[in-house]
């Protein structure tokens, strides 16, 4: 209909008064365009979401609707035809983070024949998942599903794997970014090393293993775990006798391939990419912050990740769930929401704890005769097969106590508590405070943004939400996009997620990237800031304001210069320019003033 | 009853307006001089940061902005209890002396000169600056323009702008002058001194050489007995920039001598419902209406008043001229003749030029130290100065943040408001008898008025002294029976 009117009546402007532009503006713009009218000569008046749906007062609502339509009509007079700029896209993709999310994204993209740079700051990819034993709700072993994927990453011809590395700078604009990557020295030549492991065997120095949460040991030259990818050890400068005392060199002596190289220095490389996916994951909540729980002081109060290592077949105890003294626990308490849903620490729900706590309970029951108490606030089992898993554990003779744990102490109040850990909590179902004596407490710690998330956000010039996780473009309609065109987020760096969701987002981000990488070009939103050169007085007010560094001062002409591909159209400079020399396309002063006048008069 | 309305121009214009009412005998019953405008600076300056006052109040008058700027700046010194470095005070006074030279020059040649040089009875067509130039010679004309312009260059060098200077800050001035500038100023000052001498000579030759004028100057029509006010230094000599305010009575006896900060004890202002301008008067004598004499608080603050209120000038040539003037005009002090003001003005011109030269040669003048940063909490202060047209007072009160809470201004010309009204009435009375209005009234009244060099820039809209006149005489039926117009 609109199309016909445009053609038959030769319309030069179109206003549609209906729903929110967030819904159908693109639709109508396409329609207008297909009728040969510039899509930006179309204006939408939202008389539904923000008018008719918010009141019963018909009379007033009608008045308001008139004002809204009037404003759109007045405004559209000043709308100008705008051309959507298309810019070529470099098909290389940067993926930051080699956890399951990054791996998924990298593989998807690489399989489509595009080059991927996968950057991981640890010596090996795999992320947290490599440390898990079983995964809920299916209880299949994490390694079994992860290891093949890690291997295919290593072998993939289109993936350049950069471990023990991080991105220090990310410049340019969508389609034409340059990533600066720092490779930290391993002191082992990746090309020569075959991963035979002889050096580790011979290394005289043992230190606590971070991978095993310091429950087990590793050598000064080590691979975090046997299936590490790349299968190349790294020398730990902190402890290595050569670096500390300038002695030893045993590894050098024994390495059959002369791969040890103490002279390695940190290296910077620059790679050209057209887009990037951030899959940098999460940090675990530091349980020692909650003094009342005694973590770090009471030996048998451990975190869920430590439990994972205990129960892991190739872990420090070869999968034996035991107390610090080696005995088997007779009773185990599992505490939910440690550092989650708590004003003092993190207000958000970490989403995975309920389910992995159930898994913990299940594994304890399966491997020991210990009694299990599970302290929860609400049981959240929303995923496929989750509720079923909850039911299953309910029937495994686990005692569920509804209530937040107030304190964990070893101060006994009666003989039955002697030598035990007493978990104090109000049972909100019974409405009484209960003291449960146990041998072991597993704290189900929550997920937090990475400590360096802020710094990374700065490097990639993207925003974070209040909780510190990366901010998506739209919570529902664009969950893996960001306000920064060509930059995507996936997995737990955007908000806490379990493995299935993380993998799904990894794939989603990959699809997003491919959709325009495949096209070979990307459309820039034209609502950007434009400098009227003749009006610029060179006062420099705007120079420091652009969060994307799109505005620079050209000394020769004594004027500001806007790099339009860098502009994201926030309009901050437009509002600031005291010469009125900067205008924002489709948000010009004329347009906004016209709206104001229409509304107010 | 007949009404004679002397309208500078029609009711539309903003010029002062004179209405003369005759009684049934056709003699002057009363005469009113009205000022139709007000701008309310005293109110709208409230809430402004006090340090902005010199820039804001200079806009009271574009003819004498320097006077308001410097008076205001002096008020700031007092508000912040800060004493400017010597160089700063001298730079202010140097700027100020240059301003006096420019202002008095303009008045004598452009505005008052025509009356004398061309003669009071000369047709109006000839009574303007162009004819003056024609008579005294073109070179003199350009010399007048040059010397006025040079003086303004000095103002711009120190004040930053030719009109509305911006140099004044509490505790000094914003910027020192360079040696190069000083040298230029000295050269200008030397030339201004010569120019002042030359001007006095013209006055001698053309004015004093002519008996007619001398009689005019000494005639009763132009004699008004009032108190006289002016600022004097510690030896009772005329000073424009600083000193105590001295008032002498109509017999020339010192009546009051006070520090400007105490002005409230000595000055009051009277309000009439038919004009926007107030009438200052001597508080201790009181307001007795528009009458002269010892018994009335009406006083004058003009060049003549300053000379009357002082005991001499602080520079040699000016002092000599001072003595000569009083001797020539009968040796009596004070001189009451309004027209003598012109002569007094030239004596002041001489002093200003000499003072300029002194200061331009002062070793302190190029000192880089021109600003003392205030440390005290601002509260209240009075700044006073002699404007060409009278004693000018700025009085501010602030809160401890230095935001203006209260302003009181006594603007130069306003001092003479009552006296001007009187002189006009007096001239009218002297010239209108039994309904007979002599054509002479026009010029005579105008001359009386112009002698004051009234600058109503702040209130009315004429440049100093310029009061085009237009008299209409109505009969009992209110019909115009006669119109006298100029030219």
């Amino acid at each position: 209909m609109i199309k016909n009117d445009i053609r038959e009546m030769g319309l030069t402007r179109v206003v549609v008064a209906s729903c929110s532009p967030l819904m159908h503006e693109p639709t109508f713009r396409r329609a207008v365009q297909s009728a040969g009218l510039n899509p930006y000569l179309f204006q939408m008046a939202n008389i539904r979401e923000q008018c008719s749906w918010i009141t019963e007062n018909r009379e007033l609502a009608t008045e308001r609707a008139k004002a809204i339509v009037n404003a759109a009509v007045m405004r559209v007079n000043f709308n100008e035809p705008l051309e959507v700029e298309k810019i070529p896209v470099n098909s290389n993709v940067l993926v930051v983070g080699g956890g399951i999310t990054g791996i998924e994204a990298a593989l998807q993209i690489a399989d489509s024949g595009k080059k991927v740079y996968l950057v991981e700051k640890e010596p090996t990819i795999g992320g947290y998942m490599t440390r898990f034993d079983k995964t809920f709700p299916t209880l299949d072993c994490a390694a079994c599903i992860l290891t093949p994927k890690m291997v295919s990453v290593e072998q993939h011809e289109n993936i350049e794997l950069l471990t023990y590395s991080d991105v220090t700078d990310f410049s340019g604009y969508v389609g034409k970014f340059t990533a600066k990557i720092r490779k930290r020295p391993r002191y082992v030549d990746e090309d020569k090393c075959t991963g035979c492991g002889l050096c580790e065997e011979k290394c005289p120095l043992s230190v606590p293993s971070e991978f095993d949460c310091k429950l087990g040991k590793r050598k000064a030259i080590y691979r975090p775990f046997p299936q590490a990818v790349p299968n190349v050890p790294v020398i730990d400068r902190e402890h290595c006798l050569y670096f500390t005392k300038n002695i030893c060199k045993v590894c050098v002596k024994f390495c059959p391939h002369h791969a040890i190289d103490f002279e390695q220095k940190e290296k910077y490389i620059e790679v050209p990419v057209g887009s990037a996916i951030l899959a940098t994951g999460f940090d675990l909540f530091d349980a020692s912050r909650i003094k009342e729980y005694g973590y770090g002081k009471l030996p048998n109060v451990i975190t869920s990740i430590e439990f994972e290592r205990l129960t892991h077949a190739s872990g420090p105890t070869a999968g034996k769930i035991q107390l610090k003294n080696g005995n088997l626990p007779e009773s185990v308490a599992i505490v939910h929401c440690v550092g989650s849903r708590d004003q003092n620490y993190n207000e958000h729900c970490s989403r995975v704890c309920c389910m992995y706590s159930l898994k913990t309970a299940h594994l304890v029951r399966e491997k020991t005769d210990a009694k299990v108490y599970e302290f929860y606030i609400d049981m959240r089992a929303f995923g496929k097969g989750y509720e079923e898993f909850y039911k299953r554990v309910l029937h495994e003779d686990v005692t569920f106590i509804r209530g937040r744990v107030a304190e964990i102490t070893d101060v006994a109040q009666n003989p039955s508590e002697e030598g035990k850990l007493i978990v104090v909590a109000e049972d909100t179902l019974l409405g009484i405070v209960r003291r449960i004596p146990v041998d072991m407490v597993v704290l189900s710690v929550g997920l937090e943004p990475r400590k360096d998330a802020g710094q990374l956000a700065h490097v990639f010039r993207i925003s974070r939400s209040k909780d510190g996780f990366f901010l998506e473009r739209h919570p529902k309609l664009a969950p893996v996009s960001t306000a920064g065109q060509g930059i995507y987020v996936a997995g737990a760096c955007q908000s806490p997620k379990d493995i299935p969701d993380s993998v799904a987002q990894g794939a989603a981000a990959a699809a997003n990237v491919l959709s325009f990488v495949d096209k070979g070009e990307i459309e820039m939103e034209p609502t950007i800031a434009i400098l009227k050169e003749e009006a610029c007085s060179g006062c420099k007010i705007c120079i420091g304001l652009c969060p994307y560094g799109a505005i620079n001062f050209d000394e020769s002409s004594g004027r500001a210069v806007i790099t339009s591909v860098l502009c994201k159209g926030c309009g901050v400079c437009v509002a600031a320019c005291p010469s009125g020399a900067i205008e924002q396309q489709n948000f010009t002063n004329k347009q906004l003033m016209a709206e104001i006048e229409a509304i107010c008069s | 009853m007949k009404t004679v309305t002397i309208n500078p121009v029609t009711r539309l214009e903003g010029h002062g307006k004179i209405s003369i009412f005759l009684n049934d005998e056709g003699n002057v019953e009363n005469a009113y001089f009205q000022v139709p405008e007000l701008r309310g600076f005293e109110k709208f300056c409230e809430g402004r940061p006090v340090e902005e006052m010199p820039d804001i109040t200079s806009r009271i008058c574009g003819v004498c902005p320097e006077a308001h700027h410097i008076a205001s700046t002096k008020a700031l010194d007092a508000v912040f209890h800060v004493d400017p470095p010597p160089a700063a005070k001298k730079l202010r006074e140097l700027l100020y002396s240059a301003f006096f030279v420019a202002d008095h020059t303009t008045h004598f040649y452009v505005l008052a000169g025509p009356d004398f040089i061309m003669g009071p009875t000369a047709p109006k067509a000839e009574r303007n600056i162009l004819s003056v130039i024609a008579k005294v010679g073109l070179d003199v004309g350009s010399s007048v323009i040059k010397h006025r312009s040079d003086a303004l260059d000095v103002i711009a060098m120190i004040g930053g702008k030719r009109i509305h200077p911006i140099c004044g800050v509490p505790g000094g001035v914003r910027k020192p002058i360079t040696e190069a500038q000083r040298a230029k100023i000295e050269a200008i000052a030397e030339s201004e001194v010569e120019f002042a001498k030359f001007t006095l000579k013209i006055f001698d030759d053309i004015v004093l050489g002519n008996k007619e004028y001398v009689n005019l100057i000494t005639s009763d029509i132009y004699a008004t007995e009032t108190y006289y006010m002016g600022t004097v230094d510690d030896r009772n000599r005329v000073n424009f920039y600083d000193g105590k305010i001295r008032v002498v009575d109509p017999d020339g006896i010192e009546f009051e001598k006070y520090s400007p900060a105490d002005y409230q004890q000595y000055i009051s202002e009277h309000v009439e419902p038919w004009t926007y301008l107030k009438y200052p008067y001597l508080k201790k004598v009181g307001w007795k209406g528009l009458v002269g004499g010892k018994g009335s608080g009406v006083y004058r603050a003009t060049p003549l008043a300053r000379l009357n209120a002082s005991e001499g000038m602080a520079t040699p040539i000016a002092q000599a001229e001072y003595k000569r003037m009083y001797e020539t005009l009968g040796g009596k002090k004070p001189i009451h003749s309004t027209l003598a003001t012109h002569w007094a003005r030239l004596v002041e011109l001489m002093y200003a030029a000499e003072r300029m030269l002194e200061l331009s040669r002062d070793p302190d003048i190029t000192s880089p130290n021109v600003q003392t940063l205030p440390t005290a909490v601002p509260d209240e202060g009075v700044g006073s100065i002699e404007a060409p047209r009278g004693t000018l007072i700025h009085h501010y009160k602030t809160d401890e943040q230095g935001m203006v809470k209260n302003v009181n201004l006594i603007v130069a010309t306003v001092n003479n408001h009552a006296a001007i009204s009187m002189s006009i009435k007096q001239a009218a009375e002297g010239l209108i008898k039994k309904g007979e209005v002599s054509d002479g009234i026009l010029n005579m009244v105008e001359m009386a008025f112009r002698a004051y060099d009234p600058c109503y820039a702040c209130a009315t809209h004429t440049l100093p002294g310029e009061m085009p006149l237009d008299i209409r005489i109505y009969n009992q039926q209110g019909v115009v029976t006669r119109t006298i117009r100029r030219p």
């Binding site: 009006a535 007085s537 060179g538 006062c539 420099k540 007010i541 120079i543 509002a575 600031a576 320019c577 005291p578 010469s579 | 121009v9 009711r11 214009e13 009363n30 009205q34 405008e37 701008r39 005293e42 109110k43 709208f44 409230e46 809430g47 402004r48 940061p49 902005e52 820039d55 804001i56 574009g62 003819v63 902005p65 312009s149 004040g159 930053g160 702008k161 009109i163 509305h164 800050v169 509490p170 914003r174 009051s268 202002e269 009277h270 419902p273 038919w274 004009t275 926007y276 600003q371 940063l373 230095g402 935001m403 009181n408 809209h461 004429t462 440049l463 310029e466 237009d470 117009r485 030219p487």
Partner: protein
């Protein structure tokens, strides 16, 4: 060819604009040969009776300085508009209200009470306030009505051109007068005798980076004559003010007060300066932001020193 007939008039202002023309001195004399000055009450003897007698549009161009403060100013403006082909708002007062328009931060009643009753030296026991019409024993005396709000010239009558400045600087005045003599004029509504760029464009001071961490009152510091004043925390309206004056105040080590008015693409000089200034407050901390905002001692008097009557808000609410 016949010489253009020009007129000058002076409404509510200090007279500095007329002095600025007078200041041209010898140049003015030369100029006066190229034009017929048909009306200039301040300098020559012309009467409004003559003006009223003139046929409409008989004056080629009238330079009108001063704001519209009272009924008389308005009547004069209307009369001159009728008699003139072109009417020029000359100087900051006619253009934006100028200093007299600071009176829009108060009211007529407050001004009367202050001037005629409250000021220390006023002695007015009967609380007399001037009235537009007073019956005297001898007859009636009238004076114009004092308005509650100061208006600009173009809020009163149609205006063809604007010449900003308090006062316009000599060089610009000469340029403008010649423009009219030679008849090379831009389209109606244009601002003459000024630059189309801000004062920053002609400011010789060094502009490093626009980050404001403090604002000081001008008396609290001695300004560095080389560096940008704003960067020293000294208020300067330069960024939001038209150039053309040559930056004389800056040379005198004083911050710009904005007398040349807003830039071509700007609606409201004060609003723009406020936005520009606050944008470069260098802090993300709300308390510090508040502190910086509070350190602008007198927002209206600072941002609208010369343009209040012509601004969007025009006066305070009272």
């Amino acid at each position: 060819m016949t010489k253009p007939k020009i007129a000058f008039n002076w409404a509510s202002s200090c007279g500095g604009c007329e002095i600025a023309i007078f200041e041209l001195g010898t140049k003015l004399v030369e100029l006066s040969n190229k034009v017929d000055v048909v009306f200039w009450p301040a300098i020559f003897d012309y009467k409004y009776t003559d003006l009223e007698a003139m046929p409409d549009k008989s004056i080629d161009v009238t330079f009108f300085n001063g704001a519209i403060r009272n009924s008389e100013n308005e009547d004069v403006a209307k009369l001159l508009r009728a008699k003139s082909k072109m009417l020029v708002a000359f100087g900051a007062c006619a253009y934006g209200g100028g200093i007299p328009a600071l009176a829009n931060t108060t009211t007529r009643a407050e001004i009367f009470t202050s001037s005629y009753q409250e000021t220390q030296t006023t002695n007015n026991p009967e609380k007399i306030i001037p009235r537009t019409k007073v019956e005297m024993r001898e007859g009636v005396l009238t004076i114009p009505e004092f308005y509650n709000t100061v208006k600009t010239l173009d809020q009163t009558v149609d205006v063809d051109y604007y010449v900003p400045g308090c006062p316009p600087v000599g060089a610009q005045v000469e340029k403008v007068l010649n423009q009219f003599v030679d008849g090379n004029l831009p389209p109606k509504g244009a601002v003459l005798g000024a630059s189309d760029k801000s004062l920053c464009h002609e400011c010789k001071r060094i502009k490093a980076d626009r980050k404001i961490t403090k604002l000081v009152r001008s008396y609290q510091t001695i300004a560095d004559p080389e560096k940008c004043l704003l960067e020293q925390g000294i208020m300067c309206m330069g960024p939001a003010t038209r150039g053309g004056c040559g930056g004389i105040c800056l040379d005198a080590n004083a911050g710009c007060r904005g007398c040349y008015g807003p830039l071509p693409n700007v609606v409201d000089q004060g609003g723009k300066m406020l936005s520009a200034l606050a944008s470069v407050f260098e802090t993300e901390n709300e308390e510090e932001m508040q502190k910086l905002a509070d350190s602008v001692a007198d927002p209206i008097g600072t941002f609208y020193r010369f343009s209040l009557a012509g601004s969007l808000m025009r006066r305070i609410k009272k």
